[in-house]
Amino acid sequence: MARFSEVNLKTAGEIISRYPRPKSALIPLLHLAQEQDGYVADDAMEHIAELLGVTPAEVLGTCSFYEMFKREPVGDYLVNVCTNIACMLLGGEELLHHLEGKLGIKAGSTTSDGKFTLEDVECIAACTEAPCLQVNYRYHYKVTPDGADALIDDLRAGRRAHEVPKHGTLARIRQQIPADKRAGNAVPGEAGEPVWITRANAAAATAEGGAG
């Protein structure tokens, strides 16, 4: 079931409708596919290609450029440890190695039970909270070795399910644009000068006229 489900197909339609050009919806749709299946399957890419009127090769070209898209299933929990400069200065690498030991895998691989994938990542914008990591893109700050162990145990025991959704799910709230409130897409070649600009210019012109 790697093509979009009925409900996701509807969501995909809504997302596409928000852009002046369909292809702009490509990355959001790849996320939707990853949210559905936990990774981006080839069939999903072919489905997206159909929806956007591009070729599967183009979809793959974009998909494979971005780190977050996994083309193979990963663990339920993707543990991303930052080892970039700020974290490195405060033990980011040590934290990574500690977790490698704890999980019994090297960074870049997945535990045999398919629960955890460990990754060594670049700066995740929490530099003042170093060393830090993300689990399925949820932050954990100033992580100590003990804290890391506790976190892994909790996750394994399912004690964090409420705060950490399954891999692929990012925002749990979606943007909704009510039909009656939509301003509409500004499509090149169709959309002209906005009314408020026209009005303002006209006003300015008459003002000058009045002055002169």
Binding site: E46, V54, T55, P56, A57
Partner: protein
């Protein structure tokens, strides 16, 4: 780009020298035109620059001090100062080169590109010695096949984006793409979606390294073993300019040559890879003569004698000649002279029921590809799927649509590849072109040929938009083409200024028609009536006085026992005539069949005498493309065995019939064509050999001009004068004058100064148009050359409405078909697709059949079985099949001469 007023130039400084450039020209081109070559890998003059490889970075100062900029991305600007030799430039370029090399394998000795590799050359001339990188190189699995024809070695790839840009922007087949990121970036396909493009070979040619290789050529030879000549592809009638490369008397590769008015350097894969057929084991190396049931090898003497005897004994009116589109212009002329001048028959036709009457092709105002693609114009397609039949014309049209705002209105019986480009596609009932166009000309607004009124109205509006070019051909081999003819006539009558670009597919069919290989015509686009006397005076003793039969007529006559000798000059009716039944009966019915061919085709197998002909790359001469552009084809290798040029065979037969064609070499024939053929006046061997004619020469020499305004039409019809009023103008004097213009144009064009070229051309033509005397005094040539044929059309013959139980048949071609070129090219033969009947999904329910089921198609002529495929691209009520695409032969359903083919489709 192509505005005609003389452009002002931009002056900039390159390496201290002041140079002149065209406004908007890129620094890399301006510098090169002025003798400074800036190294490059990703830049390609026929594609949008991307500035990726950075090899062309040079110091450019636009007033804010010198900065390194990619010369391929920066347009010239006044007072710009460019330094391609500064220390900074050199260091930066050497750095880029080193970066390109650190991960590049050092396998030049085993690389196909070795010896013609820009990267290798750069390294030799600028590059560092041994690598400073001690670390491990990037590794990939060695060559992976990305299609049946192309393999990709990602370790050699330097990521210049040429192949990927070509696939997306030029061909529109975005099947290869960059994948992954940064240092891991690679070109690849989507899993299980191979790079199945008709144009994939171009990516191999433009790859600046050996990353992309063509399986038909891989490891065949090293560039330094190859030598080459320039020639013209005759696989179809677009006439792409090529390099023919061979080694040890074997053709090994064709490369596209960039010719501005035609192919821009591109080739289709059929034209590129069918060189394999030239080398085929199955080529005929000697004549064959029938004894009893079988054909036995024979010497030329006996074979020719037997053929001549048959011809001598037969009454000229019972002799017919079919074919000629495979021939050079020179051979076509020789055969016309033999048939019409010596034998005296007019039952001659180079087309095989799949074309249009010669008067239509030759007698309407003709357009060039450039005119059809001129920015802002509108193209009305009344013809085949250009991607399947004239692939590189499809590329030109695609570019015109994507880059030059050309609108395409497509009239077709089923959707085609062009439909994706077209502003509107009107799917009409087969054979209804006449009614539909009549309705269009009336502004739409009423239903016609199964098309809604408002769709017609919208299309009609588009045709008002700008200059219109009609691309005219056959979109359906299951009708007679009468609809297209009626449509063309109506358009010409309503809009005499509209020009037509012929979309007939066969290699040199236009040359063959020009040379008179058609009923009622003589060489030089003149009719029996207008030109008969002229040619008799020129020594054609037996020019017939009455019009003969066309291919269908000839075959019908043969079937009826009215043909004693049927000569097939590169014609294979059994495999290549839409009505298979008629062809079969005809070959059985003809008393003697003489075949002149490269292969022992199905028809040749039925022949009594088979004469082995020399083929492409084995003969010198000229060919004429669908524009009427004459360009050279060149001999590169010797033909197999004792095979001979077709014109020699004609000359031999004439001699045995006691006549002397007086033709001893291709060049001599060309000279005679220039002297006798009205449309070819001025086309001297010298002109063709001149560098200026590199892009070919349009005949008549005065037609290459912008579409004239209606009131000018009568005078500009000098191209195709109709009536005594024009005779003065069409005399050779004027045409000579135009010749100057044409050459001047080409010459200037050649110097790269296109606008100037067109300026010259148009002034000269303007002079021509108002009938001014040319600078050169007209060479006195009496008597006056005959006028050229014109087409004034016939009455529209509306096809009868189909009955409720039948579907109307649409038979179209695919690029890879059962023709000899494909069948004898192993790498292409495998690409022929299976046949099937495509029906609109709605008709499946109506007929109660299910998708994929095998169905029986029954027409008056016969019945065949095919799998049925639902296809919304086929209009309701039509049944679409592929002609010439495997057995059972669709030709069994078609009866030549009946307006349309209706079929019953039933579960079998």
């Amino acid at each position: 780009m192509s505005d005609t007023q003389a452009p002002e130039t931009v002056v900039l400084t390159v390496n201290g020298k002041q140079i002149e450039a065209k406004p908007g020209e890129l620094v890399i081109d301006a510098a090169e035109r002025n003798g400074t070559y800036i190294p490059r890998f990703c830049y390609h003059p026929r594609m949008e620059p991307v500035g990726m490889c950075r090899m062309c970075i040079v110091e450019i100062d636009t007033g804010r001090g010198p900065a390194l900029q990619p010369a391929c991305m920066i347009p010239v600007a006044p007072d710009m100062v460019v330094d391609t030799e500064s220390e900074v430039t050199k260091k930066a370029q050497d750095g880029v080169l080193e970066f390109l090399l650190i991960n590049h394998p050092l396998d030049c000795p085993v690389c196909d590109k070795g010896g013609e590799c820009p990267l290798q050359d750069q390294t030799m001339s600028y590059g560092p010695g041994e690598s400073r990188m001690v670390e491990e190189k990037r590794h990939y699995a060695k060559p992976i096949p990305i299609s049946d024809l192309v393999a990709l070695d990602r370790e050699r790839c330097i990521l210049c984006d040429r192949c990927t840009r070509f696939a997306k922007d030029v061909a529109g087949d975005t099947l290869i793409h960059f994948q992954d990121r940064g240092n891991q970036t690679q070109v690849n396909t989507f899993p299980d979606h191979p790079f199945a493009s008709y144009f994939s070979g171009n990516t191999v040619q433009i790859c600046p390294v050996g990353a992309l290789t063509a399986s038909p050529y891989r490891f065949k030879a090293r560039p330094w073993d190859l030598d080459q000549v320039e020639s013209t592809c005759t696989t179809c009638s677009v006439g792409c300019r090529t390099l023919v490369q061979s080694s040890r008397n074997e053709v090994l590769r064709y490369q596209g040559v960039d010719v501005d008015p035609v192919n821009w350097g591109w080739l289709c894969d059929k034209g590129r890879f069918d060189f394999q057929a030239v080398n085929s084991e199955d080529r005929l190396g000697a004549p064959l003569v029938r004894n009893g049931a079988s054909l036995a090898p024979a010497g030329w003497g006996p074979a020719l004698t037997k053929a001549a005897a048959a011809l001598r004994e037969a009454d000229p009116d019972r002799i017919a000649v079919l074919g000629g589109a495979r021939l050079t212009n020179e051979s076509a002329y020789a055969w016309a002279k033999l048939a019409k001048g010596v034998i005296g028959t007019d039952h001659v036709d180079a087309q095989l029921g799949d074309g249009l009457p010669a008067e239509v092709v030759l007698g309407l105002p003709r357009a060039t590809i450039d005119q059809a693609c001129a920015p802002g114009g509108t193209v009305l397609l009344l013809g085949p799927d250009l991607k399947e039949e004239l692939p590189v014309l499809f590329l030109r049209l695609r570019h015109a649509v994507t880059h030059d705002k050309v609108a395409v209105v497509e009239l077709a019986p089923r959707r085609s590849a062009v439909s994706d480009l077209a502003t509107t596609t009107l799917l009409h009932r087969p054979g209804a072109e006449g009614e539909v166009v009549a309705a269009l000309l009336a502004g739409g607004g009423r239903e016609a040929g199964g098309i809604e009124p408002d769709a017609l109205a919208a299309a009609a509006a588009l045709l008002e938009r700008g200059p219109v070019t009609v691309v005219l051909g056959r979109s359906n081999l299951a009708d007679t083409g009468a609809g297209v003819v009626a449509a063309a006539a109506a358009i010409h009558e309503a809009h005499p200024e509209v020009r037509f670009l012929s979309a007939l597919r066969r290699g040199n069919v236009h040359g063959a028609l020009d040379m008179g290989l058609a009923p009622g015509l003589l060489p030089g686009r003149t009719t029996l009536d207008d030109g008969g006397q002229w040619f008799r005076d020129a020594g054609w003793a037996n020019v017939p006085r009455t019009r003969g039969l066309d291919a269908s007529g000839i075959l019908a006559a043969a079937a009826g026992g009215k043909v004693d000798v049927l000569v097939l000059v590169g014609a294979d009716p059994l495999a290549d005539f839409p009505d298979t039944g008629l062809a079969t009966r005809a070959l059985a019915g003809a008393r003697t069949v003489i075949a002149v061919d490269l292969f022992l085709t199905p028809s040749a197998q039925q022949a009594d005498v088979v004469l082995a002909a020399a083929g492409y790359a084995e003969v010198d001469g000229t060919t004429t493309n669908l524009e009427g552009r004459v360009s050279t084809v060149t001999r590169k290798i010797t033909p197999p065995g004792t095979a001979r040029a077709d014109w020699m065979i004609a000359a031999e037969l004439a001699r045995l019939l006691g006549a002397d064609l007086g033709l001893a070499s291709a060049e001599e024939i060309l000279a005679e064509i220039e002297a006798t053929a009205p449309s070819h006046a001025g086309l001297t061997p010298e002109l063709l050999r001149s560098h200026a004619a590199r892009d070919g020469v349009l005949v008549p020499l005065s037609v290459d001009e912008p579409a004239p305004a209606p009131e000018e039409v009568s005078s500009t019809e000098g191209a195709a004068p109709s009536g005594p009023a024009q005779e003065g103008e069409s005399d050779s004097g004027v045409t000579e004058g135009a010749a100057e213009a044409a050459v001047a144009a080409e010459a200037a064009d050649d110097s790269g100064d296109r606008q100037a070229a067109e300026a010259d051309a148009t002034t000269a033509q303007a002079a021509d148009a108002v009938g001014d005397a040319p600078e050169e005094p007209a060479a006195p040539t009496a008597p006056t050359r005959p006028v050229l044929v014109t087409f004034s059309g016939g009455a529209s013959t509306a096809a009868p409405a189909p009955d409720a139980y039948s579907l109307r048949l649409v038979a179209t071609r695919k690029l890879y078909d059962l023709g000899t070129a494909v069948q004898h090219s192993p790498s292409l033969a495998g690409l022929v697709t299976e046949n099937a009947v495509h029906l609109h999904p709605h008709d499946f329910d109506r007929l109660g059949i299910d998708a994929g089921a095998t169905v029986t198609l029954t027409a008056a002529a016969g019945s065949i079985q095919l799998p049925a495929v639902p296809d919304a691209h086929v209009p309701r009520g039509s049944a679409a099949v592929l002609a010439f695409q495997g057995s059972p032969a669709v030709g069994q359903l078609i009866s030549a001469g009946t307006a349309v083919t209706d079929v019953r489709v039933e579960r079998s």
